[in-house]
Every structure is written in structure tokens, then in C-alpha cells.
């Protein structure tokens, strides 16, 4: 067990555990908070994977915006401040079976892939991941187009969300 492996296992346990709590928690606020924990774990994972920029973006965007948005949404859609009844539907066992089967199937299929047990290559010294990422995002030979389209998408989502949720008096 090398250090990276131990770190990985701890982070993985945190992620899975909190994810589990997200989906089973009776109180929605609790669920949202557990989501934040999960997202933190994922951010740590990004950092381990030498994708520093993404780790920061994860924290800022996911946790700072989306999770907060969830909390607002839960607040806006409560009739009373008390929790009511079980939060899982009656056919949750079927969903569990399906989830397990999905997991099994995915793993099974991935096992057949040759590159399944790859070892990471050491990064070259002076490797500027962020710089390369930035260049890739705005370089016409690379991914400037998806980048711009994504911004258009966000605009559309913005307009759409405002329109849908607009409270006409």
C-alpha cells in the first residue's frame, strides 16, 4: 500500500459514504449538505490527479453555486419546516437491484478493456497543466468552439430558468 493508494481509499470512502447519505437522507437539507461533502471529496480527487484548476473550479462552481442553489430550492419548496414520511418510494428495492446491476455491468465491461490496469506516467517537470488547459480552451485549433457554445448554453439556461420560474403577478 503506497501513500497515494491510502489517500485514494480514504477519499473514495468519503465520497461513496456521503453519496449514500445523500440518497437516503430523510431531511432534504441534510441531503444537500451531504452533497457538499461529496463534492469536496471529488475536488480532492481532482487535486490528486494533478488537475488543480478543475479542483478549484469544482469547489467554486459546484459547491459555491450549485449546492447553494439546491439549498435555496429546498427552502422555496417546503410547505412546512418539518420533514414528513419516508423519502424513498415504495419500489426502492427494484431501483437498488437496477443500480447494483448497472454497477456490475459497468465494471464487467471495463474489465474486458486492455487498459484497465494502467499505471500513471510521471508528469514532466515544469508541466503547466493550467496553461495548457487555457491554451486549449481558446485555441482555434483546439476547443474554442465548444467553449463558446457552452457559454451560449449557459445563456440559454439563464434565460430559460428566469422565464420558467418567473412569478407573474
Amino acid at each position: 500500500m503506497t501513500i497515494p493508494q491510502i489517500i485514494f481509499l480514504i477519499v473514495a470512502a468519503v465520497i461513496i459514504g456521503s453519496a449514500f447519505k445523500v440518497v437516503t437522507s430523510g431531511n432534504l437539507i441534510h441531503a444537500a449538505l451531504w452533497l457538499i461533502v461529496t463534492l469536496f471529496g471529488v475536488a480532492v480527487l481532482y487535486a490528486v490527479l494533478d488537475a488543480g484548476f478543475l479542483a478549484v473550479v469544482q469547489v467554486v462552481i459546484y459547491i459555491g453555486a450549485i449546492a447553494i442553489l439546491f439549498i435555496f430550492a429546498v427552502m422555496l419548496t417546503r410547505k412546512e419546516m418539518r420533514d414528513r414520511g419516508p423519502q424513498l418510494s415504495s419500489a426502492w428495492w427494484l431501483s437498488a437491484i437496477i443500480a447494483v446491476l448497472t454497477f456490475g455491468g459497468l465494471v464487467r465491461m471495463l474489465q474486458a478493456w486492455s487498459g484497465f490496469s494502467k499505471i500513471p506516467v510521471d508528469l514532466p517537470t515544469g508541466f503547466d497543466a493550467v496553461g495548457l488547459l487555457g491554451t486549449a480552451l481558446i485555441s482555434p485549433n483546439a476547443f474554442v468552439l465548444p467553449f463558446e457554445v457552452a457559454s451560449v448554453l449557459l445563456l440559454a439556461a439563464l434565460v430559460g430558468a428566469v422565464y420558467v420560474a418567473f412569478n407573474r403577478k
Binding site: 418510494s89 419500489a91 427494484l94 431501483s95 437496477i98 446491476l101 448497472t102 455491468g105 464487467r108 465491461m109 474486458a112
Partner: protein
């Protein structure tokens, strides 16, 4: 133009006249009669040219004018039709052309051309007079016939038919002409079609002659099937005749020739009104008088005799047929004469007289007197036409008297006449000449010569026929004189007769011309051995017409007995007739008004009982009620009912339960049930949708993975 081409053209003007009048000039009376009389004149002209040429040819019988062409293709030969002018048809053409022209001219006057339209005249009825105002007072005058053009159209068509018949060289076109004349006879007898008696008479004439025509057609068919030709000259080849004479037939033991001859003769029995098919001719007097003259005296009834004369070489082959022919002819001659003595209508007397005279000709033929029959045919045409036209003139004079006095008497009843000699002189003298010709007044009338020849021919070997004809000749003279006496002599018996007037020149001119022929046409046939006059003029007629046959018949050996008999019966009959009837004033005084004779020996009533009533019964009860309504309609109704029941069975047992309910409704019910069962799948709940989707996805993915992995 050759003579043969001219012969083809002779029948053409009348048929063109018929079409022109019907299509174009129907409304214009002057134009119509001009077209018709012009056409008759052209045919007359053509006929005279042909006749003059024909008599100039030596041995015309051996080399007649003939022209024919192939018409219908049969298996390996052609049926030919064409024209033929041999001596027989030349003389017949002569009298046909003259009488037709005379009658056409007469018709213009008879139909009152130039007179005003009648007061109440309708097409379909006789004209009844028009009121005119003259010198301040009104009186009635004869009015013009409303259907003037129609009359001329029909008689033109008739002339065409007769000329076709006379000039044809084969039985087929002869029959065509025969039938056309039958049609015209029907149309013209029923000319005044609004009169019920005229309509009935037309139908009677047509049906009776039709009976004869059917047998004649059988004869023609038999000729064709036995010889393969219908052309006279080919049938009369010696080999053909010999074959026909020797082939036996199963009927009455006759040879083929005899049977054919009998069948053809039956056609003549119908057409020339011999017993037993004579019943139509007296009723045919319903037609206008020119019609009676032309059709029922001079031409159409003569056509029957002409046909027998033409087929003489064939008919004469079998003695039994000849016996039948002679018997019917002689019997008819006497039979009709007995009826004629009891008739009061001026036209009916002449009708029975015609029947009787035709019987003479037929009897002569049956006795083998070929030339005598032809001779009498020619002379009879002239004097009978003359007599009929004369009677028409008398009737017109009487009509004038009726209109003048306003008293309605039957203008045709002889007992209403009398003393017309002074009122209508031309009519009287011409009628007298005609009547004497009919009676056989010696030497100066044509009838004497022809009748004498017949009596002379039958005297040798056919004594029964001779005696019968002699008695009939006596009766003929008797009733003719009766007729003349009652009509013209004595004092007028009614006011109408007193006011009678001579008729228009268009009527009297033909009378005069025909009377010239009635006198002169006999002189061409004076026998060589006649005491005194014989030999002065050669017996041209005998030589000429006799040469039609292969061998000219021998001239009849002269015998005093027939000559004396003929003189006695003729003069005796005339004298007795005059003596008896000059004192008879009314029908009651007439001793010969015996019911049996007056009622024509009740033949019409017998036919009604035997033929007409059963036919009506058959048609009404059997065919109509039983067959038509019962059987035919019944089976149709049955078919209808069966079809309807089949249809309703199919509907109720198959269509409704199986197709409608089982298939139709059933399909929808099943689909509805399936739909109902499938409904809950779409619950509107997203998570359920996702569950189902993922389940299916997993299943498919698994299948694909494992299947592909195995491969």
C-alpha cells in the same frame, strides 16, 4: 344507251318520286303530283321505247333483252339478279306502263286537286266538302284530299314495286316487288286511317296475302335448294326441268316440280284473290278508287297471274298441280260471279268481277292455255281499270249531287243512282265500252277475243272447266248489264243522282284513253281460223307471246262450239240483265238479293269462327295469361324471390355474425382490451419510466455483451 341499260332505269323514276315527295315536297300539292306524274310518264316513256324495240326483234323469245350481275356470293357460284324483257314481260310492261300513267293522272282529279280545303277535313278521313260562297248564296263543293301528297308518294312506291316485278329475271327480285306491292296495298287500303273499317280491311288484306306469301317463299327456297339458282332462264333449262320433274317428294305424290309449282301457286291464290284466300279483295274497296283500279284490278292482282304464267314451264310439268290450278281457277270464277249478282255497291260488284276474271286466267293456265291466259291478262287490265276508274267517276258525280242537295245518301249504292247517262255522258259511254268488254261483246271489244280464246282452249280436253267458265261468263254478262242498267239507265232514283255532274277532264281523259285500248287491244290476237275476220290481221299476239316458251304452243284448232257458246252467253246475259233490271227500282224488288249470295256464302263468318276466334283465344288466354304472366313472369318472380332469400340468408347468417360481429366488432374489442391492459404503463410518473427504461437497457446490454462476447 343500250336497251338493257334503259330497262334497268325504268323502275327508277317512281322510287325517286316516292323519296322526293316524302322528304321534300310533302307540303306542296302541285309539286307532289307533278313529281309523281312526271315519274310515271318517264317510266311510261322508257317502257314504250323498250316495247317498240322488243316487238321489232325477231325471235325475242330466244334472245331476250337481258342484263344481270353477280350479287350474293354463295359457296362456289354467285346468285345473280338482273332484268329480262322477253315477249311475255314486254306485253305486260306495255299494259302496266299505260294503266299506271292513266291512273296517276286520274288520281289528281279524283283527289279534287284545285278545290278548296274542306270545312271539317282531317288527315285520315275522306274529304267531306267545303262551303263556298258564290253569287251571294252558299253551297258545298267537293274539297281537296288533305293527304294529297301522301297518296302520290304511295302510288309511286307501288309503281316501282310493279315495274321491278315485271322486269326481273329471277324469283328473288320478283318476290321483292311482290312484297313492296303488298306493303303499298296495305298502306293504300288503309289510306283513310281514321276510319276503323279501312284499318281493318288493310290488316285483313295484308294477313291474307301473307298466308299465300309464306307458301310462295317456301317454294322459292325449294327452287333454290333443288336447282341452286333463282334465275328464270336457268331454271327453265331442259335438264333442270327434267330433274325437277323426276325427283319425287313425299307430299301428295307430287314431283319436285309439282310441289314447287303448287307452293308458288298458293302465293298467287293469296295475291290474286282466288278461293279460299279471296276474302280480302272486296274489303279492299275501302281504299280510294284509283287504288282499287290500279292495285286491285290492273296491276297487283295481275302480278299473281303473271307469276304463274312466268313459271308455267315448271308448273306444267306435273299434271296433278295443273289439275289443282285449273280447279281453283274455275271454281273461283263461278263462285265470285254468283256473289257479284247480289251486290249493291258499285265497287263491290267490280271487285267480285275481278276475282272471277282472275279465276278465268288461272283456269286457262291450269288447262295449259298459256297464250290465252296472257291475252286475257292484258285485255282484262285495260277494261277493268277502265271500269274502276269509271265507277270512281260515278261516285264523284254522286258526291257532287250529295253536296249540292245536302242530303246524305250512300254515293256508292247503285240503288241510289239511275239516269246518270244524261248527266255524265263521257263516263257513261266509256263505262259501257268497259262493261261490254268485260262481258265479251263480240268483235268490237277486246274482252271477246281473249275470253273466246280461253273458252276455245279449254273446250278440248277440259270439259268441266269449259262448262264452268261458260256459266260464269253468262253470269258476268248478266251482272255487268245489271250494274250498267241500275247506274246509268232509267230515271234518277234520288235527288243526289238527279244533281250529278260530269267530272273533271283529269278523270275523263284517262277513261277515254283506256276505252280505246279496251276496244283495240283484242284485235292483235284474232285467231287465224276465225270465220271472216281471221287471217286479215295476223295473230301477232300468239306468235309473239307464244315464243316466250321453248316451243311455240300450237294454235288452238278452230271449233264452232266454243264460239257459239261465247256469243250466246255474252249477248244472252246482257239482254236478260237489261230486261230484268230496267224495271227494278229498289233493292226490295231485286229478286237476286238472296242472303247467301249477298253475304258472300258466309265465308268470312266461317273464317272468323275457325281461324280468328281461336287465334284471339290462343293469344289472350294461353300465351298472355298462362305463358307470359304465369310461366315467364312467374319464373322471373321466383328467381327474384330466390335471390332475395339467398341474400338475406347470407346477410343474417354470415355477414352480420361473422363479418360484422366477429371480425369487425371483435377486432375493436380485442384492441380495446389490449389497450386497457397496456394503459398503466404510461402512468405519468417519471421514475417509473426511468425504471422501465433502465431495465430494458440492462437486458439488451446484457444480451449484446454476452452474444458478442461469444462471437
Amino acid at each position: 344507251m343500250t336497251i338493257e341499260s334503259l330497262i334497268w332505269l325504268i323502275p327508277l323514276p317512281p322510287i325517286l318520286a316516292f323519296f322526293v315527295i316524302v322528304l321534300f315536297t310533302n307540303r306542296n300539292k302541285t309539286l307532289s303530283h307533278s313529281v309523281a306524274i312526271g315519274a310515271a310518264f318517264l317510266s311510261w316513256l322508257g317502257g314504250m321505247i323498250v316495247f317498240i324495240n322488243a316487238i321489232g326483234v325477231h325471235e325475242l323469245g330466244k334472245e331476250p333483252f337481258t342484263s344481270s350481275f353477280n350479287w350474293i356470293p354463295t359457296a362456289d357460284t354467285w346468285l345473280k339478279i338482273g332484268v329480262l324483257v322477253d315477249p311475255l314481260s314486254a306485253v305486260v310492261l306495255f299494259f302496266v306502263a299505260w294503266t299506271v300513267l292513266m291512273i296517276f293522272i286520274y288520281s289528281a282529279g279524283y283527289n279534287n286537286f284545285g278545290q278548296p280545303k274542306g270545312d271539317h277535313d282531317q288527315p285520315g278521313l275522306q274529304p267531306h266538302g267545303a262551303t263556298v260562297e258564290e253569287h251571294g248564296h252558299k253551297h258545298m263543293v267537293p274539297s281537296i284530299e288533305p293527304m294529297y301528297s301522301r297518296f302520290f308518294a304511295f302510288i309511286s312506291l307501288f309503281a316501282f314495286g310493279m315495274l321491278t316485278l315485271v322486269l326481273s329475271d329471277n324469283l328473288l327480285t320478283l318476290f321483292v316487288g311482290w312484297e313492296i306491292m303488298g306493303l303499298c296495298s296495305y298502306l293504300l287500303i288503309g289510306f283513310w286511317y281514321a276510319k276503323p273499317s279501312a284499318r281493318d280491311a288493310a290488316v285483313k288484306a295484308f294477313m291474307t296475302t301473307r298466308v299465300g306469301d309464306v307458301f310462295m317463299l317456301l317454294g322459292i327456297v325449294y327452287v333454290y335448294s333443288a336447282t341452286g339458282t333463282l334465275s328464270f332462264r336457268e331454271i327453265f333449262q331442259p335438264q333442270v326441268l327434267h330433274t325437277l320433274a323426276t325427283v319425287p317428294t313425299p307430299i301428295l305424290g307430287l314431283s319436285a316440280a309439282g310441289l314447287i309449282g303448287l307452293l308458288l301457286f298458293i302465293g298467287t291464290v293469296g295475291k290474286s284473290a282466288q278461293f279460299p284466300l279471296h276474302v280480302w279483295l272486296p274489303d279492299a274497296m275501302e281504299g280510294p278508287t284509283p287504288v282499287s283500279a290500279m292495285i286491285h284490278a290492273a296491276t297487283m292482282v295481275s302480278a299473281g297471274v303473271y307469276m304463274v304464267i312466268r313459271m308455267f314451264p315448271l308448273i306444267s310439268l306435273d299434271p296433278r298441280t295443273m289439275t289443282i290450278v285449273a280447279f281453283i281457277g274455275a271454281f273461283t270464277a263461278l263462285f265470285a260471279a254468283t256473289i257479284a249478282v247480289a251486290q249493291n255497291d258499285i265497287k263491290k260488284v267490280l271487285a267480285y268481277s275481278t276475282i272471277s276474271q282472275l279465276g278465268y286466267m288461272i283456269a286457262a293456265l291450269g288447262s295449259g292455255a298459256y297464250v290465252a291466259a296472257a291475252f286475257h291478262l292484258v285485255t282484262h287490265a285495260f277494261f277493268k281499270a277502265l271500269l274502276f276508274l269509271g265507277s270512281g267517276s260515278v261516285i264523284h258525280g254522286m258526291e257532287h249531287g250529295v253536296l249540292h242537295t245536302g242530303k246524305h245518301v250512300d254515293a256508292q249504292d247503285m240503288f241510289n243512282m239511275g239516269g246518270l247517262r244524261s248527266k255524265m255522258p263521257i263516263t257513261f259511254w266509256t263505262f259501257l265500252i268497259g262493261g261490254f268488254a268485260l262481258s265479251g261483246f263480240p268483235v268490237i271489244t277486246a274482252g271477246f277475243w281473249s275470253k273466246d280464246e280461253i273458252l276455245a282452249s279449254t273446250f278440248n280436253g277440259h270439259t268441266a272447266v269449259f262448262v264452268t267458265l261458260a256459266i260464269a261468263a253468262f253470269l258476268t254478262a248478266f251482272y255487268t248489264m245489271r250494274q250498267i242498267t241500275l247506274t246509268f239507265l232509267g230515271e234518277p232514283r234520288t235527288e243526289a243522282a238527279d244533281n250529278a255532274q260530269e267530272t273533271h277532264w283529269t278523270m275523263t281523259l284517262p277513261l277515254v284513253i283506256l276505252s280505246i285500248f279496251a276496244i283495240g287491244s283484242g284485235w292483235v290476237g284474232i285467231p287465224e281460223q276465225f270465220p271472216g275476220l281471221g287471217g286479215l290481221i295476223p295473230n301477232w299476239f300468239h306468235e309473239f307471246v307464244g315464243s316466250t316458251l321453248v316451243e311455240i304452243p300450237a294454235a288452238v284448232p278452230f271449233n264452232l262450239v266454243p264460239l257459239l257458246t261465247s256469243l250466246t252467253v255474252a249477248l244472252g246475259g246482257l239482254l236478260i240483265g237489261w230486261l230484268v233490271y230496267r224495271n227494278v227500282q229498289t233493292a226490295k224488288e231485286d229478286l237476286l238479293q238472296i242472303p247467301v249470295l249477298k253475304n258472300k256464302w258466309y265465308i268470312d263468318e266461317i273464317y272468323d269462327l275457325i281461324f280468328v276466334k281461336p287465334a284471339y283465344w290462343f293469344a289472350e288466354t294461353f300465351v298472355y295469361k298462362f305463358m307470359d304472366k304465369g310461366v315467364i313472369d312467374g319464373s322471373l318472380h321466383l328467381v327474384g324471390k330466390a335471390t332475395a332469400s339467398i341474400g338475406s340468408t347470407i346477410r343474417n347468417y354470415f355477414d352480420l355474425p361473422v363479418i360484422n360481429r366477429f371480425f369487425g366488432d371483435g377486432t375493436s374489442i380485442v384492441i380495446k382490451w389490449i389497450g386497457n391492459k397496456l394503459r398503466p404503463i404510461q402512468s405519468g410518473r417519471i421514475q417509473q419510466y426511468m425504471l422501465v427504461t433502465l431495465l430494458v437497457l440492462l437486458v439488451i446490454a446484457g444480451l449484446l455483451y454476452y452474444l458478442l462476447a461469444m462471437v
